[in-house]
Each structure stands twice: as C-alpha cells, then as structure tokens.
Symmetry: C2
Subunit: 338 residues, 2 copies
C-alpha cells in the first residue's frame, strides 16, 4: 500500500476526493491537516468542503499555499448530535449535503466525512440512490487482525435489520473483499451465539437459512471469539450489534493501555519493559481500530462515501482518503452494480 | 472474600450445593476437582450429581476418601450440543434434571452446572418456576473491572427480548447488586449505540422510555466503550448482544496473550520484560473473564442456579460454587420475590 517510486512513471491519473472540512470532533484543524497529508500522494487532489474563510484560515495556519487542493464553499455545518433527517432537510448548504452533491454531479470521485454519521448515510442514500438489489446501505469497517483483514458490516447504519438485509450485506461484503483485497470467494460468516443453525435471535436464524442458498461462500455462524482468528473474511451482523462490538473493542484497548501506563508510572524499573512490550500491545490494539484501516465504508449507495470516526485525528483522515482512493481504483462502485 | 480464621468460630452453617458432575467440556475430571477444592471451605458440602461409578472413580483418582461430599445418581448425560427442549424432555434422569429436582425438593440450596446452558435454563424455569413479575429468567455475569464490578444481563438466556423483559432485567440486576455487592441504589445502564434516547434498535428505544419511569436508578444509555469505565453497576442488554460481547472479550484476551507470547518466544531478551508486565495484562484480561467472578447467575427463577462456562476448569468451578454460596448467604432468592 506504500508509495512506490517507479523508474518510468505512467501518466498521472489524478483522483478528486471531496473532504468534509467541518465534520468531526477535531474539525477543522485535524481534518485539514489530514487532507494535506493525503496530497503527499501526487495522484490525490482534495476538495475541501465547508466554510471557505475557515478553511482558508486553517490552510494558512498549516503554512499551505501550494496547489493540489481546492475549496467548495458550504455555509452551514451539521453538528454531531443533530437528528440526521432534520439536519439534512434544514441545512441544504451544509458541507455534508454539498459534498455528496459533488459526487452526484461527477465533480469528485468520492466523499470523505468524519461528521454526523447518520446525516452522511441518510443524505448519501437519498441523493445518490441505492444500488440495484440493496434495500438499505450498510457501513462496513475493516479490522486488520494479525490473522488477516476482516470486513465487518453493518457497524451502525441500520440498528434494526431484517434477514434479507443481512443477506444483502453478505453480497456487498463479498464483492468488496474480492475487489479491494483480492480475496477469491471471500468466506462469509454470520455473527451469532453458537455455531449451530438454530442458535441466535430469530432474524439471524432466518438469515442463516437464506445465506445457505445465496451465491456467496457462506461458512456458517461465527462467534465473537472467532473474530480475531482469521476464520472469515466478512462478518455479517446488524448495525446495533456491530456498533456495540466496535465500541467495546475501543474501550478495552483504552482500559488495557491505561492499566499498563498506571503500573509503569508507579514503578520506574518498568520503563524498560514497557518500551519493549508496548509496541506489541499497540499493534494488537490497533487491529481493533478500524480508523487505522481507513474509516467505515458506506456500501450499497451509488457512489463512494467513506465515513471516518468522529474522533479522527489527521492520520485517521489521511487513512480514510487512502481507502476512498483504493475503492475508486478497484472499481468497487461499478462491481456492486451487480 | 477470603477465608478468615476466627478465634471463636460461630456454629457451622453448612450449605449443601449440588454440582453437575457430567456437564462441561472438561467433565468429569475438572468438575470433580473443582468441587473438592470448594470443600476447603468447611461451610460447603457438595452433592455431586451424575453417574455414580464415574464420579466414584474420579474421586478415587483425586485421592479423595473423606467426608464433605455425597453423590446423587443420575444415569443420563445431556451433551453440550443437544437441543435443550428435546434433551430435558427425553432425559429425565440426567444430571441437569436431577440436580434441579434437588433444589425443588429443598435437598440442596443451590445447583451449579457447566453443562448445556439452554437445558439448565429451560429445566430450571419449568421445574422451579419463575419469580413473580418475571416473564423470562436471565443469565447475568459479573465482570470485575478495575473501576468496579458490573453485572451484565442477559448474557445468553434470551436471544430475542421484548422491551418489558429488559425492564425486568434492570429490576433483577438492581436487587442483585444491592444484596450481593452491597451497592445502594445500583446505577442501571442500558446498552445502546449512542447516549441519546433516540439511539439504538427499536426494542432498546422502547425500553429506554420504560426504564425512565421504572423504580430503578436508571442512568440512561451506555456504550460498549463505557463498560470498563465504571459508569454503571448493571448493564442491561438482550441475550444475543450480551453473549456476543462476552465472547468477543474472550477472543480479544486470547489474541493479545498469543501475540505477546509469540513476540517473547522469538526473543529471549524479552523474558524479563514479560515477567514484569504479564501479570498486569493478565489482571486486565481476567476482568473480562466472568468465570473469575464465579460463572453466570440465573436470575428470575425460584431457586439458586449458577451456570459455569462450558470450558470451565477446576478453578472456575470452585468460583461458581463460591458464587452460589454468596447468593445463599445474602438471601438473594428471597429478595427477588419482590
């Protein structure tokens, strides 16, 4: 995934990616920084979407005066806590609405936002439209476990899911992992509370039956403890369970690092030990952090939309932009058309 | 919780606890060992339930020939993978059915099993009956986070929950944490995917509204990442989500320990560091391991039933027996009568 210096560089294929400059807990500073970091890749051009004066001020603060970026003005800002439906109805000149409009008008190839997830999902669905056969788009996140990457979806777009939605998630996940990660016939696991078909809530039981007949490589139910064991390439679940899992992983990572830090602070002798082991602990914990892998993917809408974590720092934003670029290059959007 | 040697010991109040000798991945060896370990507490007398010849053989292997234990013969064994309803219908002379019968007939004060959870829950519910106001019993597990213990329920008895069931779980959890852990007005959190009342699946949204009016100390929605932060004493969720969470915690712990071990095996210089830090990592991970706190409690049935993890070793079995004893002493069963 690193940049390769080639002797004979092929003609540049610039991709334009719109970035929501106003969304996220650390907007606009970290967003702008992350956007600029992404332009280290000469193939990426960023369109910052948001209040022009705010963006210009930040660009100046970063000492930026070069090329490779542009600004699409949007006068309004949708706050993190706003009701998605009300927000996108009321604020048609917000960075989220304007950014998605840029995709629709073919002015950019993708939109990246760390803002109000519900608003991004709702506006993208309404404005870009759903792909054929998809009743509800899903948010997917890739976790980079040592045993291999796993795409988990839905991680929060649909708190209530019907069985057929889970089957659609399986199809979308399969295409994604094949296209973007080059995995042939990705193994699809259904998150449940036991291996047997009869285990799980009714929705999962029905989805299991449907998945057995679906044209995907369904390997059956998987449990929470299998997640990190590399037994599946795609983990299918509803957006409630998926989101709970995601946030629990974050919490556990924080707890562990906090405990280790506390132990070390009280005992200088441990400094050396922690210097050696903390990179290992960090590496494991970072596999729980989907922002390391580039944010959440909105799958099933007609366009490429990447939702970064609300708490994203500049590095997470840069990773999300890289994800968007990868999706563009691999033609994921077209492949999903069915 | 340790045993105290007192100068003047009060008259012994022996409690009889039935232990399913045939249930669990490591039955009967680890179960019998764990049962014998529990009898180090002179107040505990174990009734091993299961095939008499098998139990006797194991007791002999353990070099046991003393007092403090007895055997209740049950000729049949319910396997871990059997359908609960079919199993308890078909095997009326199984250790699970016989063990629960012992509670019903007041021959023991509690029953502990690491066997087929569904069979234990179903048989206990049908045979002992539910407490007043409880439509469905729940399995609860206590996690010993550094910030304080938290009772999580349901962790697997009810994969599908209605809002009023979640409210009942809140009531049962509140009584348990007050009675057994001495926490006044336990703080009840509802597991969701955002703090706002409008967040979460429909069931959770409805439960939130009902909990606001319920006679418990409801603190609102909590997220996965708050779990370890000590913000609630009771975490209410459905059995599907709860079980997924539980097993994910197990998997992450395993993954982390595995990665640390791998790093150390390849580098002898790290031995010293890991000697120092691994107890800390272990302590944190053990807080995810409810067997450390004594198995899962079946709340809402008219009797004390503790379900140990299928993978229980002797220590986990001993802990589960200790939990049962604590429940008996604190009069949890009576308190729940309402």
């Amino acid at each position: 995934m690193g940049k390769k210096k080639e002797v004979k560089k092929p003609e540049t294929k610039k991709v334009l990616i719109a970035l929501d400059a106003m969304g996220g807990d650390h907007a606009p500073e970290e967003i702008i920084k992350g956007g600029l970091m992404a332009t280290d890749d000469p193939d990426i051009e960023i369109v910052f979407v948001g209040q022009e004066d705010v963006i210009k001020e930040q660009l100046e603060k970063c000492g930026y005066s070069g090329s490779g970026v542009s600004i699409a003005h949007a006068s309004e800002v949708i706050e993190m806590g706003e009701s998605p439906v009300m927000a996108i109805k009321g604020k048609r000149d917000s960075s989220i609405v304007v950014g998605i409009e840029l995709i629709k008008n073919w002015e950019v190839a993708a939109f990246v936002s760390a803002g109000n997830t519900g608003a991004v999902v709702t506006e993208a669905t309404l404005s870009l439209g759903r792909k054929k056969g998809v009743s509800r788009p899903a948010l997917g996140a890739v976790f980079g476990f040592p045993a291999g990457p796993i795409l988990c979806l839905d991680i929060g777009a649909n708190a209530d899911c019907k069985p057929d939605m889970l089957v659609q998630f399986a199809h979308m996940g399969s295409i994604y992992m094949e296209k973007v990660f080059g995995i042939p016939e990705p193994r699809i696991g259904l998150l449940s509370i036991g291996e047997e078909e009869s285990k799980g809530c009714k929705t999962v039981q029905k989805a299991h039956k449907m998945l057995k007949k679906a044209k995907v490589n369904f390997i059956g139910n998987v449990e929470g403890r299998d997640l990190s064991r590399g037994i599946a390439d795609v983990l299918v679940t509803d957006g409630f369970t998926g989101n709970v899992l995601l946030k629990m992983g974050e919490g556990l990572g924080e707890m562990l690092l906090h405990s280790l830090k506390e132990a070390v602070d009280g005992n200088p002798k441990l400094n050396e030990a922690i210097d050696v082991l903390s990179p290992i602990v960090h590496r494991v914990l970072s596999s729980l952090d989907y922002t390391e892998y580039g944010g959440a993917l909105l799958l099933g809408v007609d366009g490429i939309v990447v939702v970064a974590h609300g708490r994203s720092n500049s590095k997470a934003i840069k990773n999300a932009i890289t994800t968007a670029k990868r999706e563009i290059e691999q033609g994921v959007a077209d492949a999903m058309k069915g």
